[in-house]
Amino acid sequence: MKPTKTMLTAAVLATAAGGVSAEEMTIVSWGGAYSKSQLKAYHEPYSEKTGVTILNDDSSAEAVAKLRAMNEAGNITWDVVDVVAADAIRLCDEGLAMEIDPDTMLAPAPDGTSAADDFGDLLVSDCFIPQIVYSTTFGYRTDLVGDTPPTDICAVFDLEAYPGKRSLEKRPINNMEWALLCDGVAKEDVYDVLATPEGQEQALAKLDTIKDSVVWWSAGADTPQLLADGEVVMGSTYNGRLFSVIEEQKQPVAMLWDAQVFDLDGWIIPAGLSDERKARALDYIMFATDTQRLADQAKYISYGPARASSAPLVGQHAELGIDMAPHMPTDPENAKNTFLYNYEFWADYRDDIDAKFQAWLAQ
């Protein structure tokens, strides 16, 4: 630990220069339980090891727009940013994120496997360093579904067997896929069908059958709240949110898991950092995405580590003391029928289908 006086002087100097001192870095993330898990698993050990002070900024939801504005203003104040993979691809396309070479910039697995192989297919963009696998899936009220709890995704579209409201996200992504899947389209054909105007109409027509029974959400916390209030019978949200409703708040809610959509969340380093800040950001990334650190994060939140080599190291929840492996979206029991978010498809079709989806919603 450095003497306080030095740190104070450094802080004063940093403020005077209007920049970030050598002892500080700003890490942007989502806030809430997720940031807490990163604080415990990454930030605290890293600060202890290097003496770097880490400032948290909960701006990930607006990260893409803000990074673009910072880039235009020529003053980038963030060092490392946590974003979902789709945003990472967008940032990479816009030239706002730095390209990463996994072989030299990321730590190999303990057994010597290269980082590129350890992350495997999850390296979906040249700028993206995966951190966790999460999924968007359904939770349902165990007390409101009668004697036959739902086991497959099409229960969402079955108003006769499961009357009541459902909550779905107010965007086309995932909903369109689920609609087609339950309208008889084979899983491997979903994106081919969705690429055609007829396929988009088909998906919207299927959603139309439950439109009057849907509550649309836009924040991840909405569905857990709606389930807890009994306002909806079932609803989609991120699996970690459902974990906390079920295990931490002990609500009568269960996971559906069927046709859960895997998505990735991870780090990017903004393009255009000074050499000194870039080196520090890379040093942090090297530390925070190694095998042990990724496994550590799963002690605090039920998202699966992105490295294959981390999975066997996942232990128990730090406070509840329950085994975390069965709560991971990647657990074989949960991952019987899964979808992987098709990044390239949605990068192309997002604006087009979103316009149609919103027009349909407004009808």
Partner: protein, 424 residues
């Protein structure tokens, strides 16, 4: 008297200069001093208000990215007739490869792909996928390119692709404004968007309509409250005033979420109605996630902005006027309608303008309680700013909204008169 001739000459100040000149000089100095006093504010307004608005207005027509990224291609495409239905010739492909090699080197090709993807779905991945292979071509030795480029991605073999690039190549475009009114720029000129994508005009209309309804309901609710505040004894009215201001000290999100708890189907109001037996358990009222929910929540949130100007105007209405009217035999209603109400109109006007303009730009509350039919145009603006990154379209939508507000302001000035607005 005796020196009358002296008065015909110029009047002199104490120091001997002509009085007129001296006066002008001291006035100028005064003006300068005043200007220096307001200079900080002027500069602040300039840089924090006028410059951003001007840059937003400019962004809605700015489109230099195509010309900057593909300068040679844009020039070569001038000789190509997009209505011929045939592919451009080798010259265009050659220019395209030259441009792409530079663009891939600067990593600007994917940026252009995102820009063109707003116009034609699929362009984003075409540029991303083609980039790596095209960046490796050598423009001097590897030609001819037409077949090679089409080999890299068959999208380059479609005349439509080149028509999109040509249509959107001007550095100043009306494309974003056309998009903002559910139209689009095509090689054949402006055309309507396909019907299943038309939503923005509808949202503009809905935003205006609902803002008017919210303003009207604010007037109805705020008038009696302000009247009470202005006429009750000071001690009581101060207490009431605190109640009016209390919501101001609570976070907007908290207030909006509180309405959710109140209005949802398992919420306080529905539970109470069911308990009282006024509503059947299986027919609970739907009063949130629709227009009604938005109107209720926004009326509540904006109410203080209506009460405060009304209150301060009503406070200045002398009580003696109404007493005089009554003493001359006017009924209570006549006194109110002929004497009190006309004097309170400036307050209504000020409050209405305030509430209406605030309402038109709201997006957090409609997003949370609006469901599908209660969202505003600002929600789309927010989407295009933060999710789709189509800032050009967002700027065009914002510009139209600004123009609509100015237009309504002008109409208001014509009908009611802007001099007739008072904040107290």
């Amino acid at each position: 008297m005796t020196d009358a001739s002296e008065n015909t000459g110029p009047m002199l100040a104490a120091d001997g200069t002509p009085l007129k000149q001296s006066l002008a000089r001291s006035l100028r100095r005064q003006k300068l001093r005043a200007l220096m006093l307001v200079a900080p504010l002027l500069l602040f307004v300039m840089f924090s208000f006028i410059v951003p608005i001007a840059s937003m207005l400019f962004r809605s027509v700015e489109n230099s990215i195509v010309q900057e990224t593909l300068p040679l291609t844009v020039e070569a495409l001038q000789n190509w007739d997009e209505s011929s239905g045939e592919l451009p010739d080798e010259a265009v492909y050659d220019a395209f490869v030259r441009d792409m090699v530079v663009a891939v080197d600067n990593k600007t090709h994917t940026r252009l792909g995102s820009r063109l993807n707003y116009e034609e779905t699929g362009m984003s991945s075409m540029f991303r996928r083609s980039g790596r292979k095209m960046g490796k071509l050598d423009p001097e030795t590897d030609g001819p390119f037409k077949d090679q480029v089409i080999e890299i991605h068959d999208g380059w073999g479609e005349p439509k692709t080149w028509a999109v690039i040509k249509t959107h190549s001007p550095a100043v475009t009306n494309g974003y404004f056309l998009n903002a009114v559910d139209m689009r720029r095509t090689p054949e000129g402006a055309q309507a968007q396909p019907e299943d994508k038309q939503i923005l005009i509808k949202l503009f209309g809905r935003t205006l309509f609902m803002s008017l309804v919210i303003t009207a309901s604010c007037i109805l609710l705020a008038y009696p409250v302000s009247y009470l505040l202005a006429t009750l004894p000071m001690r009581v009215s101060n207490l009431l005033m605190i109640l009016v201001l209390l919501p101001f000290w609570t976070s907007l999100l908290v207030r909006t979420s509180a309405w959710k708890v109140m209005l949802q189907q398992q919420g306080v109001i529905n539970e109470t109605l069911v308990w009282l037996g006024l509503v059947a358990d299986d027919a609970r009222l739907v009063i949130i996630n629709n227009q009604f929910g938005t109107i209720i929540a926004m009326t509540h949130i904006l109410l203080p902005f209506m009460i405060l100007p009304m209150y301060s105007v009503m406070q200045t209405i002398p009580e003696s006027y109404t007493r005089a009217a009554k003493s001359m035999g006017a009924t209570n209603w006549t006194t109110f309608w002929r004497i009190y109400f006309p004097q309170s109109i400036p307050g209504i006007g000020a409050g209405s303008i305030l509430v209406f303009i605030l309402a038109i730009g709201y997006y957090i509350t409609p997003e949370i309680v609006g469901g599908t039919k209660g969202v505003f145009i600002s929600n789309r603006i927010a989407y295009h700013i933060s999710s789709s990154l189509n800032w050009g379209l967002a700027a065009a939508l914002g510009t139209i909204l600004l123009a609509v507000v100015l237009l309504l302001y002008w109409v208001y000035d014509k009908i009611v008169g802007i001099d007739n607005v008072k904040l107290g």
